[in-house]
Symmetry: C2
């Protein structure tokens, strides 16, 4: 089956009527509609996307931009595939398709996004890994492409975003450790300019402040957000003259590397050093002792992202009225044994 013309000829009616029947327009005889739908099904006709998009001025496709740089490929788990399921559950209601746009590792993410946007392959975008200031946000705003970012940014003054509650995580981690008697609490922070690092550190700093603990720059360890980074964190912890008794990690896979480095030094997590990891992650489940970390439903997050995005789109906004433009996504503490020891009171 080629096009709508062939289908119309086969049915011996005009293409206009075929189109209206297929698109569920009301002004079509029910009998005709049935014949059209049956023939389309039988001949496997589906409207050509380009013809449709060109005429309608809308593609009915939402893009999820993925940055597949080396770090992400090797280290991130299928965070995006999880989120994808939630997004699709929302988009399906409106017959919108989700496609993933992987930015090649040797192309500048900004240029890639610019190209994709200008080509009009999608009606709206979801971006993530927002930087402290992020040119992509200005680009999308200026191009008037609806978008939502996973992660806020200094650039996102008027745009929609959902961000994980890094502040809350930092605070409850510090509170928990302090309650166990810890005062020297290190923190692993990302070495790049991703915005979440700033928020995380800020939360940590203010939490210490609440407990009257001085902020000590030597306890802030910059590392790659990866397993290797975690190993590195372990290494640097061991170098510290006055070794901290606890450490909070920013990224889920750091725990794996950290455990390994500690094990090499015969230091037992949860006994010699308290550890609180970040996101609960299937592949960190094996860790002994079990890692105290934070749980998140990727699917729910994806669904929320989807609705937040649709709320900003003229054609779908009325389905999602009064929706907040931004949202802090809570994480739930999952107690393990990696931070279960109490320091004896001095």
């Amino acid at each position: 089956m080629k096009g709508i013309r062939q289908l119309a000829e086969h049915l011996d009616i005009s293409i206009g009527t075929v189109s209206r029947a297929l698109n569920g327009k009301p002004d079509v005889n029910e009998e005709t509609r049935k014949r059209v739908l049956a023939a389309a099904e039988e001949l496997g006709y589906v409207a050509n996307q380009s013809g449709r998009a060109l005429r309608q001025g809308t593609t009915n496709v939402i893009g999820l931009m993925i940055e597949s740089n080396k770090d992400i490929v090797e280290d991130s788990d299928n965070f995006f595939l999880g989120v994808t399921r939630g997004l699709q559950s929302v988009f399906a209601r409106h017959k919108l398709d989700l496609i993933m746009l992987p930015c090649p590792s040797d192309e500048d993410p900004y240029e890639y996004l610019k190209r994709m946007v200008a080509r009009r392959v999608v009606d709206a975008m979801i971006i993530s890994a927002t930087q402290r200031t992020d040119k992509r946000i200005d680009l999308l705003t200026k191009a008037k492409i609806p978008f939502v970012s996973l992660g806020r940014s200094l650039s996102s003054s008027n745009s929609s975003w959902i961000d994980l509650d890094f502040d809350g995580v930092a605070n409850s981690a510090v509170d928990r450790l302090v309650a166990h008697g810890h005062r020297r609490i290190a923190i692993a922070a990302p070495s790049n300019d991703v915005n979440l690092g700033y928020i995380f550190l800020d939360g940590y700093r203010r939490a210490l402040d609440r407990h009257g603990i001085a902020y000590d720059l030597s306890l802030v360890i910059r590392a790659k957000t990866s397993e290797q980074g975690g190993y590195q964190v372990g290494h640097e912890l061991l170098q510290l003259a006055d070794r901290p008794t606890a450490v909070i990690l920013i990224y889920e896979l750091m725990a794996i590397g950290l455990y390994r480095r500690l094990s090499e030094a015969s230091i037992t997590p949860g006994r010699d050093l308290a550890i609180i990891g970040f996101r609960e992650e299937p592949r960190a489940k094996f860790l002994q002792p079990a890692l105290t970390c934070f749980r998140i439903s990727l699917r729910d997050l994806g669904a929320e992202l989807g609705e937040t995005l649709l709320a900003t789109m003229p054609a779908y906004g009325h389905f999602y009225p009064n929706r907040p433009r931004t949202m802090i996504w809570p994480l739930e503490l999952v107690p393990g044994e990696s931070d279960s020891f109490h320091l004896k009171a001095e």
Copy 2:
């Protein structure tokens, strides 16, 4: 910047010339071309994808279909993101873009593919997770959409594919274990109908045969290809009356679950039970003792997949002449300590 018309007006030349200049056609004055390119850059003009595709009858987009069912989301690592990098490196040569098409978990993969194909969003497809017989292959063949599958299938009699060397892996695993004195060698096989399971089991069976070891159905343990599946495998191994001394795993993450189950039973991998895992995987690196497994370069595999696909496309085939239609992708053994003990001779 809206369309080519605006750009042409701004330059005060015809849209035909603008198009030719932008598309690198030879019959354009160099001076004109420069002006056009400069203006396009300045105004951020990029051709509308729908208009282009409609006119050319080609989208210059290749689709990679992803099945994001629950198992894959939770357990697979970023296998696809790795392969994606290789694919993109090849496609970039021809200015082809790669998009990932995630099949919603509640939609039938066959119907999803059919829809995407009929809508003509891509010029060619890459599919994976081929089943023993796979209707998608017939669909794509009939629709005359160029495609390559990662994984062969009984259905792929004339189509292009690259498959991992499951036969080779099964053979070298058995050889290695037999050389260490093992005779009772269990194997974990997938519980679904994915084609690789058949090939893997077949290789295992013939390898046993070569060594004069009888094939024992009770040593074939069906499990989900996941961490949980590995745990399950461990569980069933422990139930066996005459416990095997070695086990070969079909899927990378099984090792994690298996180690855990064994640890619960105080059985030490590499001392009480020899284990050979499947693909080397960052997140299994921490396992103690180190897992003997097989290495693969996802990027190289992706590049090869890309070239194999392009070779089947009329417009690009001449760039890749004499390219085999199918290919078995070798894996390299990475010795660990999980299978290092030798059984004493009886």
